[in-house]
Structures are given as structure tokens and as C-alpha cells.
Symmetry: C2
């Protein structure tokens, strides 16, 4: 997340301002015009406070005479950066920050603006609404919560029906991620206002589900990748798939004025949500015709198999021309500064698809990591490509 | 917040279960059948960890051999209890808890169920939606965010118009409070389903506002009640009042199918929100005819004046029979276990109103503190009394 810029680190940061991601009245974190971030945290009796703000080593904060600990980062890449503080071994959030659900907890994050870039800011354009819905799932036996973005004219155009994008968060996040961290609603407001993007409904569901009666084992001490963790993940992926296809989609089509067919239904997700997207859509090509994987696609973690375009996904890609007729968009993206394993995984998928003649879009987000700025840019590139296929019937009243 | 029950404290708590307020998979906090709460928090190198869960002294947690610190409370009263942990002087949230905005930060809280009580739980009844809206305020010069509850049949009954309740959070909280902590949407779903309560729209706005150009001074080290704090509060109260009456209400009446008149507009709020309610409604009796103060009403903190029914609020209460014709409901409530100053303040207001012959409802929530269980019960008592005045025209299409 560090910019590879050659400026003077020793220089005192100037023009520091409270981050836009702070809670009301909180003066810290601050960000300066060179994208340096200053963290300040009160822990008068602590022996050691570390800052966990980027992949790689955690850094020691410096104790000040007033009981506060401080640290100023070098220039950071733009976007929203999760961080935590480690106070004598306790990993906690910064009370000055808005809480964003990430890493399976309500974490801190600091928004570093991108100069001249405002596609994810609220502007003086018509705004859609984000609605919270609750539905009882026969798959999980519980009430489930989701967010639904409705385009700006939804309440006025009472005869119009809209296509739907199902948009999933990443591992350790929840259904609030795309609106809170991702600002998906503002991105869509701005894209729709520009005329480049079809008005659409976006459903942001919780990616975690457990079937009725399934008891989730205690995963304390079982990290991501451990057999215990992956078994739970696989069970949950299956429950999520069933909940989505058997309960959520029918609920959405009943509750909102959707165009309830595969030509007007897309799914995309980031990281774990990308894996879920590939699993759900390829298992249900009768339901979806647009597919997006943002820094996450197939599910090699779960199956352990190598991707082969001839056999993958029950042979859906074997005949590229048939696939191109069936699937209007296959889109994958990755940030150029993401961890090597992630980047090479997505590049390898892209190359396999190219080699197999499978039409797709491969997007690289310049200079960004496995973080929300990558996924905001992904959505900005992905959404205008949706529901534009000329052969489809226009969104129409019925 | 402690139940004055005579049971054996030394007894080990049994049947402990993860609290419903925990994040996914978090095993702690736990709550047992006797409403005891067990907190467990990892801080292997900390010298001292304190728990701040009730008014009064903070308690020392006990360090365990595994680097976790634990504490088990005596029986707590039911409801949602904010808490924080103090790790070597740093006051932080528990990563196991859902984050709720309270105390001007994203705090932890633990939900202690109330036996046999489910009026604020999601049930198998029609559910309304909570919508997020953004509006640009000419008063504050910024985009503002609010939540709006729409009753279950809002999307189907496209010709029906609805009355509106403006419902405000307390000091240090935000517009998310009534839905997240208060579960206002489920309370209304259940009340409406029972037939006791008119379907209504509820607007939950952010109670903090600053006029264009106003620079909020740094309030670090200026506690609630200090002159600096109160000056900012008064400025913000005025900005909030202007924003609400000049921008928000017109925006709501334009955006939703409201009945846009005083007979179909109510306002209520808790604590600081109750003070705001009394200020806004009595300044604008042309806009409101239902008034609710939940553990907060007049604004003695700001004006320093004693309440006199003959002169208060520009004489609005001087003629009780005229007032009763004009204001369909004046409702105040307080929890019987709230701090003495709060309780005696509300009781004194109640007695003054009685002495002055001003018709009103005074509700006492048995055994609860200045906490959300009090305010959930308040809403349950308050909402069914709204918009029932027979002289009003029925909610009708236009």
C-alpha cells in the first residue's frame, strides 16, 4: 500500500486534515496532501503499541509525553485502508475511525483521497436509495439481512422493471461492505447520471450462511486455509448458493420490479465473493448471463484442482462460441499491487481463458492492492458493460 | 444496570451462550439464563484490563493463563448494554461485539434477552424496509444521511399516503441508533401487524448539524456540560432545527407518500433527541401535533431556566384546553433505574404539567436505566397512540 515515490520521508507532514472516514469531531487519523496518514491513539499506561496498516511487518508507534501514541506513514496509495492497533498484545480498533466490518470484526479504516478522482463521491446528481430488507430463509432457518440499491427513478417510474446485479463482499466482511467501504451506491448514481450505465437494482447479500441444524465449530486458532476453516467455508459456500438461488432471488423478484430472467441478472463479487460468484453462476447459468470476479474468481482453494478451460465448470467453457452466446460478459480484475499469489492466480486464469479462446474482459487496477480502491474501480469498469447486449429486449413495462 | 436479586454470586454461571449481538462466529461475550454476562478479551501483554459496562466504578478483569482476560457480571437487567474495555489506559471496543455508534464512537454492546418478551424481535409478520437516503442541505452545505422506515405495504399500496414520525437518537449516537440498537423497524412491524398501530413512516435523521462556515472547535478535554461543549451543542441544536424544518421535512414530503400536515406529523427522541424534540416541536407547532420525550424533554441544560408551565415554550402551555386541542399527544417517559438527576427531572416536568392541567402521558419503564431497553419500551407505548385522533381525516389517497 506504499507509493513507490521518491520524496523525503524525514520531512514533517504538512496540511494534515482529519480523514473523511473519521467519526464526528475526531481529529485523528489525519491525512496530508502527500497522502501521508498520521495516527494518534491514547494509551497512557501501555508498554508497546503497534500499528497494523499494511501487509508486511507491523510498525511500532511512538509514545508521546501526553499519553498518546503516534505514527505517520509514508505516502499511501489512494483508497480506504483497514488498520488496527495492537496495545500490549490486544488487537483493537481506533475509536476515532468509523467502524467498517472487515477481518471478521468492526475495524478501523482511513480514507486516502485520490487526486482528481470523485467517481465514488456523492455529487449533485439524482441519488438512488439503499434499502435494508429482511427475509426468512428456509435454507438457513433464520432471518437474513441484505441491502438493496434502487436506482434514482425507481419510485417515480412505477411501471418500469429493472435488471439486477447481485454484488458480494469479501471474506471477513459482510453485506454492509459494498455500500460503506465500496460506496457502490454513489458509484452507480454517478454512472447512471453520466448516461453510460443502465439503471439497475443491486442486491448486496451476506455471503455467510449455514444450513438449518449445522453447528459451526469453534474456529478459534484455525486460520484461513486450515482444513477446519476450509471445511466450514465449503459448507457455507453451499448453503449460500442454495439460499441465494432458492430463497433470495425469488424474494427479490417478488419484492422489487425486476426483469426476472437470466438476460437481466448479473453476479459479481470481490475476493471470496468472486469465488462465490463463479460457483453460483456456473452452477446456475439458467439464472445468470453476466459474471464478474474482482480479485477472486474460481475456487482453487476449495477444490485443489488446476483450472482447465476444457473441463472447468462442467464444460461450460469447452465451446467458446457457444459460451459467448450464452454469457454476455465474463469479467475478471486484479490490482497490480496485490499479493503475488493473487495476481498470478488471476493472470493465469486470464491467460487460460485467452488460450482457450474464451471471450472475457481482464482489468488491472494500476497501483492498488487487495483493497477497496481496486474494487471501486472494478465496479466502475464492470457496471457500464452490464445489460447492454443489443439482442436483449429493452427494459420494459409489463 | 444490576438486578437487585438475591442469588448466589459465587455460583459458576451455567448455560452460557454467545450473545445475539456478537459478530459472526464470535464466542464471547456470552450470556446465561440468569442474565449474567461473561466477557473475554485477548491482551496477552497487558498489565491491567478494566471493563466499563455500567455507570459507577469500572471493574478489573482477571488475567487467565492463555493471555485472555475475563469477567462475569452479576445478573444484568434486560436490554442492550454498551461496554468498553480499558487496556493499559486505552479505552477500546471488544472485537467480538457488533459495533454500535454510542458515546461518539463505535462501541461494543451486549444484548441481554428479556424473558418472554419479543416485541423487538423479527417475527413472521410483514416487514417494512429501512431505506437510506442522502440529501444535500442548504443549511449545513453538505450531504446528509438519514434512515427511513417504510411500513410493510408501502410498495404495494401505491395510492396510500402515510403519517410520519421523526425519531431522534441520543447524544453521542447517530442516525443508525434507532434501527440498530433500538430495533425500531421490528417494533413497528410487530405493532402494525397486531393492528394496534397505524402504518407510518419513521424518519431517523442525524441529530448533529453545523451551519455552513461554522468551524467546530476541538472539543478534546471539554466534557459534556462544560461551557465550550454546551456552546457547540446549542449551535448544533439550532442548525439541526433549521435543517430539519427547512430541508429535511420538505425533502421527505417530496420523496415519500406522506400526509404533509401537522395532524400527521410527530416527533420524538431519546435523551438529547428528546431535548431536540421539545425545541423543534414547540418552535414549530405549525408542523407537529404529536410530541414525545424519551428520557429527555425540555432543555434546562442549555437555557438554565426553571420549567414554568405558564411561561414555558413561549406560552404554548398557558391555556391547557387550547393546548390539548392543538397537540394531540404530549408523551414523556423515563426508566425507573435511571440516574437520579434524569429521573427527578422528568418526574418534575410530569408534576408541573399535572399541576398546570396540561394533558400528557407519563410512562415509567420498570427497572431499566438510561439505556435502549427503556427506549424500545417507550416506542412500544408511544407509537400506538399516534395518528389515532378521530377528528383527523383518515389516511387517504390524493
Amino acid at each position: 500500500m506504499l507509493l513507490a515515490a521518491s520524496f523525503c520521508f524525514a520531512q514533517e507532514p504538512g496540511d494534515l486534515k482529519p480523514a473523511t472516514s473519521n467519526v464526528l469531531d475526531a481529529q485523528y487519523p489525519k491525512v496530508d496532501g502527500n497522502s501521508r496518514v498520521q495516527i494518534r491513539f491514547k494509551a497512557p499506561e501501555a508498554t508497546k503499541v503497534k500499528l497494523n496498516i499494511w501487509s508486511g511487518p507491523k510498525v511500532d508507534m511512538e509514545k508521546q509525553a501526553d499519553g498518546f501514541w503516534t505514527f505517520t506513514t509514508p505516502s499511501m496509495v489512494p483508497g480506504l485502508h483497514y488498520y488496527t492497533l495492537i496495545v500490549d498484545g490486544a488487537e483493537v480498533s481506533d475509536p476515532g475511525s468509523t467502524a467498517y466490518f472487515g477481518g471478521s470484526k468492526w475495524a478501523s479504516a482511513v480514507e486516502v483521497p485520490e487526486a482528481g478522482v470523485d467517481f465514488y463521491q456523492p455529487k449533485d446528481v439524482p441519488h438512488g436509495q439503499v434499502r435494508e430488507i429482511w427475509y426468512h430463509s428456509s435454507v438457513t432457518g433464520a432471518w437474513r439481512h441484505a441491502f438493496v440499491y434502487l436506482p434514482p427513478d425507481y419510485d417515480e417510474q412505477t411501471k418500469t422493471r429493472y435488471p439486477v446485479l447481485y454484488l458480494q463482499h469479501g471474506g471477513g466482511e459482510d453485506e454492509s461492505g459494498w455500500a460503506r467501504q465500496g460506496k457502490a451506491n454513489f458509484i452507480l448514481d454517478n454512472l447512471i447520471a453520466s448516461g453510460s450505465t443502465k439503471p439497475m437494482i443491486i442486491v448486496m447479500a451476506n455471503g455467510y450462511a449455514s444450513r438449518v441444524g449445522y453447528v459451526v465449530p469453534d474456529l478459534t486458532g484455525k486460520p484461513f486455509g486450515s482444513p477446519e476453516f476450509m471445511k466450514v467455508m465449503q459448507e457455507r459456500m453451499g448453503a449460500f448458493e442454495d439460499d441465494m438461488t432458492q430463497v433470495l432471488i425469488p424474494f427479490i423478484d417478488k419484492t422489487f420490479r425486476t426483469i426476472p430472467d437470466r438476460d437481466h441478472r448479473a453476479m459479481a463479487g470481490l475476493s471470496m465473493g468472486g469465488m462465490q460468484t463463479f460457483q453460483v453462476t456456473f452452477d446456475h447459468l439458467d439464472l445468470f448471463s453476466y459474471i464478474g470476479g474482482f480479485s477472486g474468481a474460481g475456487n482453487p482453494f476449495l477444490t485443489g484442482t488446476k483450472f482447465d478451460v476444457k473441463t472447468a465448470y462442467n464444460g461450460a467453457l469447452t465451446d467458446p462460441s457457444e459460451f459467448a452466446k450464452r454469457v454476455h460478459l465474463l469479467w475478471i480484475g486484479v490490482g497490480t499491487n496485490e499479493p503475488e499469489r493473487m495476481k498470478s492466480g488471476l493472470e493465469s486464469l486470464h491467460n487460460s481463458l485467452d488460450a482457450g479462446g474464451v471471450k472475457h474482459v481482464f482489468y488491472e487496477s494500476p497501483g492498488t492492492d487487495h483493497e477497496w480502491q481496486t474494487w471501486r474501480r472494478d465496479l466502475k469498469d464492470f457496471a457500464p458493460r452490464l445489460f447492454q447486449t443489443p439482442s436483449q429486449p429493452a427494459s420494459s413495462a409489463r
